[in-house]
Symmetry: D2
């Protein structure tokens, strides 16, 4: 009954089985020159309805930082939401990988960068002035850190603006599956058709052991990626076991099936909780994260009942984050709601 | 029948089973705050007969480059053998992680740095001269890139010299298990008792899926490591699956058992081959790598017979590298020898 | 009649004479092993009433970025005002020199960091959390970018808070002379006695050709500076000519004399202008910079009359910056005021 | 009577006068938007008989490291002579500025890279292999660190080979003037006509106070240079005083006049010394440096007589370096020779 994060969950059986199957071959060519890695690119080409160049890596931070490293010079600026993972939770990985580029955080409701806020920042970017760091890239998080989802038109508007200013565009899709599952549209619509150049396509938070794919829609940007990945220690030798995870993840829509489950558990949970008195939802729940304020005694009692989750920092007392995952059980969700309801009744 | 490298081999069953077992817990704390990661440190403390601080990572390049990042300032020099993996095969990872430190390659027979060669280089290191990069660290590879093994006294002599010059000492133990198995001594003797501060303790080449441990004997050097690992994208969220590999690897001497097998297969192979006419061994075979010159037609015929291995660059024609692994089968070795012998007889 | 910046001014005669004098010696030891460089450190020791370690460099950006490079690890955070030169005007030099550390801009009135704003940011700094960049240094600008001056007690309060959180403290003293001249107190009171560890002591904006001194009150921080300066290409070979500038600058209070003149010209100018109708002063004028809003026609007419100055970006129409320098002539100031007054009368 | 280095000499009167003249203007636009800087580019365009893009900087290390920063990716290799200043004497500046690229030193007689040695290294460069750093640039030193001078055909042969392998080509012309003076040919012949893309054009060692120009023959390479120079703290605000030095240096052939003097003093000195018994010249003297072995008592006695020079490290006893400069006096040279001769006679 752990709602701390989707990274507390383990590995979905299909992916574990794929690793075992990959191990049946006594030998396979290392460093990605194997059949599994080739299949990953084929899956992604099918899913995105166009040729792509893709590189498996083992963490979202690596996917993001390596992506950015080919999108900005060391004197560049990457625009992102001020709660973006790259800005807040990666201990400066983008700065390390880019050789010291600067992140420019932009505030916005519901975890989203407002177009007019980006426009204002870009209007003051001093492009061409040697005293200033130079506009280089835009990074969007999809689903956002607030558990909301950019609509394709929102992505397109931001990317169009970015392109007008010569920016490259990145999507941190650590929870990309949850976003696609929510919108129920073609992944192409949400990415390159909306103007995205590079996608960090997450799997670790959605049932993989440790796997993400960096997907290049702008092939030219991919040219130096292989060297940068190796140089960063992110080219693992027995690559088949990383690619096998992604191969299984992308086969027969497993990635969407897992995300749909996580999303539906979040919906069930938020609907149950918002029916209770004294409850305040911080953001619309569109993916698998719920940011919600409960009565403080309820929060304490839920913990005593064995539920695990994080208090949300910089918020009013009783504000917590609940994350569902591919393996969240409906009984756990219902138990959570029942427990909260019981406490709520007691309090009333 | 693949003798290309120990990284073409898959995962040993005990380690795969450990991953599966780790997956039985529906949830575990992420980022290394889990029971498996704790056990890894406990194993290593037992194996090295002293407290250590240890960090799992997923590749040897990451282990090496992150280790070096805490051992040298950006204006420092790392001394290493001129065939060292860090110097030749990591696409500049040490330079990236150290912020631009310099590697100073030193030549030496059998893949080893000679004490007098190191002494000579250090005597000309211009310590304190602001125009020169400054002596910072020594990195030894154990087993070496030539498939040989430093004796404890050799390690101790090099480390003593290094310490006299204020250097930190690193061991690239990508094949540390093979070295220990060969020497049949306490791992402590070969590392901290001989003056090593930090060890990249390899598992990937010896049956793990993707796992290495950075082991600090000098605890102070470990202080900033956690930040550096995260910043590099090498702190994986579902750490239990990385640590579970190392946990199994270090349990009941599995790591040594696997290495002993690889070493013994190499011995069997080299003994069979050196009994043939026209064969020249480049280096003593002490671990699981054989560098050997065979008649050119024999090499071609072995390939036709389905054996896979690398030609060795910068060598005389017919020079190849053969690597055995934890899962190399005796029948494959014997078949290799028989094939070579048959061709040899034909030729004669 | 140029009020664009103090860097449009040339070299004060005393400093030019010192360069010529230094050139009378046919030879001098290079790289700072000369008499002039030694004297600079002696002057600074006298001025700051305690032993210091000092390094001449040729630009304020170099002084700042090199200072920060010894005050933060690559995963560190440097807190500064959001209009600080290091944050806005150095094209990412701090990020380059620190290996990718992050600047954390803090807003505050009159170009100053408010103590409570710093306290709030530090309270949320997540020290020790590997996912977050780590608190490392505080940088104050004195005089500020708004032309105001921190009082010793303000510096002390900020530094005390910084020290409680383990930060190192830096002062960007590009206009340090103007600040000291304004406060008319001992330089020691404004720096190390108030908790500053490292000072970028400016001279270029105050009559030097190209010269700044990095002054270390925390001697330990200076240990690696020499290597970092050389590595950055900032150790000039004929150092005597850089040090001779500082030697003259620091002799017999020339630095304060020049700054007092610039400050008094600014006072004369601002008093003249604020006596006119329709004028709005943005910040108190405490050093040699004036940020002021004039009627738009007045601004245009002043330009036509041959005066040069910058429009101030992100401000209401008619907002300009006026900077006085060591060589600003009283007649030019009076002419500026007269011209503005005449236009003002015409308008009325 | 100082023969230690050309950087112990001061500033030639013409250049000092130019600084004074530049100071007559009470104001000038900062950061290189001034008439002096424009003239520097015009001079260089005339001297090199083609349009060039040029950037003044204050040190040879800055010129070299900034040049290399636009010629190699962080995972690149820069080939250079193993005694090159960039490899030996810049405390790792190239590694810092390139984000961790690698220098690959190549040995060769008389300070020159032999074509066949470069060819051999490039043949083994493993271009395209992600495990290896990638061939990026060639840097030649002209005049060399051995005081010799590459002939145009030698430069052309090395550059042609470099271009075949896709390398960019850099010339460290810290003593470019001495090389041109020796060859007495068009600077164009020695640079872009021979295949050079970027030149560090030195002035500091030849009579300037602190000034070098980075000259781009490949305009595309210059695109990002302005940002990189600023970011490194090498864009000085009162640029007119830096450019005024170069303006004077390049006017009416002053740079060649000064170099011819230095070269002729070196010729006079070496001819005088090699006429003495027991003297061994290490390299042909083609510029303004002499590497020579004298009898040990002679060396000691010369020092006692007040001459200053460096013992040459890693050489036989009595080996010294003598450097002449733009201001070396013939009487000092003759006195040196006479003193050595007298001692030589005494010894005989």
């Amino acid at each position: 009954m752990n709602f701390c994060s989707d990274n507390v969950a383990g590995v979905t059986p299909e992916i574990l089985a794929a690793i075992e199957t990959a191990n049946r071959d006594a030998a396979a060519r290392p460093y990605g020159n194997d059949a599994w890695t080739k299949r990953v690119e084929q899956h992604l080409t099918a899913i995105f309805e166009r040729p792509v160049v893709a590189f498996p890596v083992i963490s979202g931070t690596a996917a993001n930082a390596l992506s950015l490293s080919v999108m900005t010079p060391p004197y560049g600026v990457v625009y992102c939401h001020d709660e973006a993972h790259i800005a807040v939770d990666e201990c400066g990985a983008p700065e390390m990988y880019t050789g010291g580029a600067k992140l420019r955080p932009i505030s916005g409701a519901d975890g989203k960068i407002p177009v007019d806020a980006l426009a204002k920042v870009l209007a003051n970017s001093c492009a061409g002035d040697v005293h200033r760091v130079q506009p280089a890239a835009l990074s969007l998080t999809q689903a956002t850190e607030a558990g909301t989802v950019y609509k394709p038109a929102e992505v397109a508007a931001l990317c169009a603006l970015a392109k007008q200013h010569g920016l490259k565009t990145h999507m941190d899709g650590s929870r990309f599956a949850n976003a696609v599952a929510h919108l129920n549209i073609s992944p192409a619509e949400l990415t390159w058709k909306a103007g995205i150049d590079v996608l960090s396509f997450g799997a670790s938070k959605n049932g993989a052991l440790a796997a993400e794919a960096v997907v290049f829609f702008d092939e030219k940007l991919a040219e130096t990626f292989g060297f940068r990945r190796k140089r960063a220690g992110h080219l693992i030798s027995k690559m088949r076991f990383l690619s096998a995870q992604l191969d299984a993840y992308l086969t027969d829509g497993l990635w969407l099936k897992l995300a749909r489950h996580a999303n539906s558990m979040a919906q069930r949970l938020v609907q149950g909780l918002t029916a209770l008195p004294g409850v305040k939802l911080l953001y619309p729940v569109e993916a698998n994260e719920i940011f919600i304020q409960l009565p403080v005694p309820t929060v304490a009692a839920l913990r005593e009942a064995g539920f695990e989750f994080y208090d949300w920092p910089d918020s009013e007392p009783g504000t917590i984050r609940l994350v569902t995952a591919f393996n969240t059980q409906q009984t756990a969700v219902d138990h959570f709601i029942d427990t909260a309801r019981r406490l709520s009744n007691v309090a009333a």
